[in-house]
Symmetry: C2
Subunit: 362 residues, 2 copies
């Protein structure tokens, strides 16, 4: 589904700075899908010259037409603004993309498909608009069909929001693909959807349908992936958002869990609720899913960006000792070790199925 | 909030039969709020003569005008139809109520507030329309304010959907009030809302806001109640709807839980998921809330309507022995025993607060 999207990532003056974080995510995890960045302020340079940590060789061009000449077929709105409105400076390039018949992918709250001018323009030129915050209007409740998928489903749980669940699944996807496995992320939040080009933003889904949304997403992604890496949300101990967590956890019907955590975090952000120790969190998740569809936590993914190298190594070591499970920071050291832990947990039967499928796939 | 609603319950030919179940719920649990039933087919008789098990003395009248003469100030649409459309026969009486300036309470999927003719009529006459399936549009995420309420919050959990959670909370409310306690239900489903006249239908709330909706509801009800009895939904082991369950469970921040179950039920309806034994369900709920806000299960409410008297007594006894907790069927034997179990668990400090409040309340 995502393989034929070649992005012109529109940042128009915002490539540098916090508003450009959507573009940064796509450039980090989908460099192969980015044909060019459209940003007049930095035109003529390469992304790595402007944002060195992205290490991206993508060219920066002055307008959409130039990106199309380079091969782009989809405009990705690469900014995240406070309030989610489309900045005025981006309107002209979005209209140009619509007039050129490009696909448009947008994660802002402002729905471009409901903007009369942009929508009419896209329609006239035969293009399409995907507002990723918009939940599908034909969602159903969970049916149990997800229990039947032959793909191996891995779900990223976490101790809190913002502890690296999305980063972990994309790092694992990259490592699995490097190991020759057909793996794909099932994104459940706006940024993940923009990176992957598919997914459902569950924060906009009516509560009865969260499980059904997760199930549908897993089944969709499983059509072309032997390993589905589901981006979890929040935490089972989160006083405000655990409904979303549990809906996704049951609805995606995982075979294995990865537990994500930021070392040093002691309480749920904004609340006095204590985050349980890692071994207790492992047990709590396994007990919860055991009653519905059993799955084990097979690895711990740590976000150690705030620590120096030796403190990070010590934190990773502590997590290993506390849980008896493989632990790593998939950004700091690449996702290979974590992926190996998941591959080791992947049942022999599932692996045999993959080989079987490989044998019949041309 | 509910005390000044005097209902004309509109059934118009459907008082007898399954479509009248909404009217039946209101007549069973809110007889004191029902001024009259409007149903031309049975006009001139009393409800007990038409539906004996309701034991209601409410008069049945031929039209809305007659109900108003008897003192009704609100029309309650008393039918639940497949598909949730307003039956044609009910349109004229609804319009008559709107023209008379009555409040209109409606639980059908068809929103009467969005019906141009009915809405215009109500507006012109100074009436109001409450479509209870419609979630408030100003919901927020859970803030933690529910932790601060001085009322005693009791939450009804269950082994599955349709095991008597709504019936239990209304039976407990009745028993608590009979014992002189200011108790009130916080309804979270359509039928409960129609019975109580307030509440939020959480099946229509966006997943991020389920906890916030529960919190808001608890705080609203707590304004005039020392004991808030929250109607739970589904089950923590329900593969499809546990998101709603957990969102309500964390968001209502209960002080105590009542576990509802129908003896003999072995699997979640529609799924192969096994319902754990009662003692395991007690432990699972207590462990889940212990990490966020601790609460104990203080009673087991059984729905034994499908059993004969001796089988029901045996099932109640078995539940007591399995859990070591008070157990009863609050419909079969009245809610007094179950209420007593909850009152016994009500901390002395809370009771002192209630006495304190009684001392200052005129």
């Amino acid at each position: 589904m995502t393989d034929d999207l070649r992005y012109a990532v529109l940042t128009e003056g915002m490539l540098l700075g916090a508003s450009g974080k959507t573009a940064h995510g796509v450039l980090r995890f989908r460099p192969e899908q980015v044909t060019a960045v459209v940003d007049r302020a930095f035109a003529g340079r390469r992304v790595r010259e402007v944002v060195p940590q992205l290490a991206s060789d993508a060219p920066i061009v002055a307008d959409v037409a130039e990106a199309v000449r380079l091969g782009a077929n989809t405009l990705l709105v690469g900014v995240a603004t406070d309030g989610g409105r489309l900045p005025a400076a981006l309107r002209a390039p979005v209209l140009a993309a619509a007039a050129a018949g490009l696909g448009i992918v947008n994660g802002l709250h402002e729905l471009l498909g409901e903007d009369p001018e942009i929508a009419a323009c896209a329609r006239a030129a035969g293009g399409w608009i995907r507002d990723v915050r918009l939940a599908p209007n034909d969602l159903r409740t969970f049916s149990g069909a997800a229990y039947e998928t032959r793909s191996y489903v891995v779900f990223a749980v976490g101790s809190d929001c913002a502890v690296g669940k999305m980063t972990a699944v994309f790092a694992l996807e990259r490592a699995a693909r490097a190991a020759g496995v057909r793996a794909a992320v099932a994104p459940t939040g706006q940024t993940g959807i923009l990176i992957a080009g598919n997914g459902i933003a569950v924060d906009a889904v009516v509560s009865d349908f969260v499980g059904g949304a997760a199930e549908r997403l897993v089944l969709e992604v499983a059509r072309t992936a032997d390993v589905v890496l589901v981006e979890g949300q929040a935490s089972i101990v989160h006083p405000a958002y655990a409904a979303v967590t549990v809906g996704l956890l049951y609805g995606s019907a995982p075979d294995a869990l990865v537990l994500c955590h930021r070392p040093g975090l002691e309480r749920i952000a904004g609340f006095t609720v204590a985050i349980p120790p890692l071994d207790e969190l492992v047990r709590a998740h396994e007990e919860l899913v055991a009653r519905v569809k059993p799955a084990r936590v097979c690895a711990i993914a740590l976000d150690t960006a705030h620590l120096n190298a030796s403190a990070a190594a010590a934190a990773i070591d502590a997590a290993r000792r506390a849980t008896g499970l493989p632990a790593d920071d998939p950004v700091r050291s690449g996702g290979a070790a974590l992926w190996q832990a998941i591959a080791d947990a992947w049942p022999a039967t599932a692996k045999a199925r993959q080989r079987e499928r490989e044998a019949v796939t041309p």
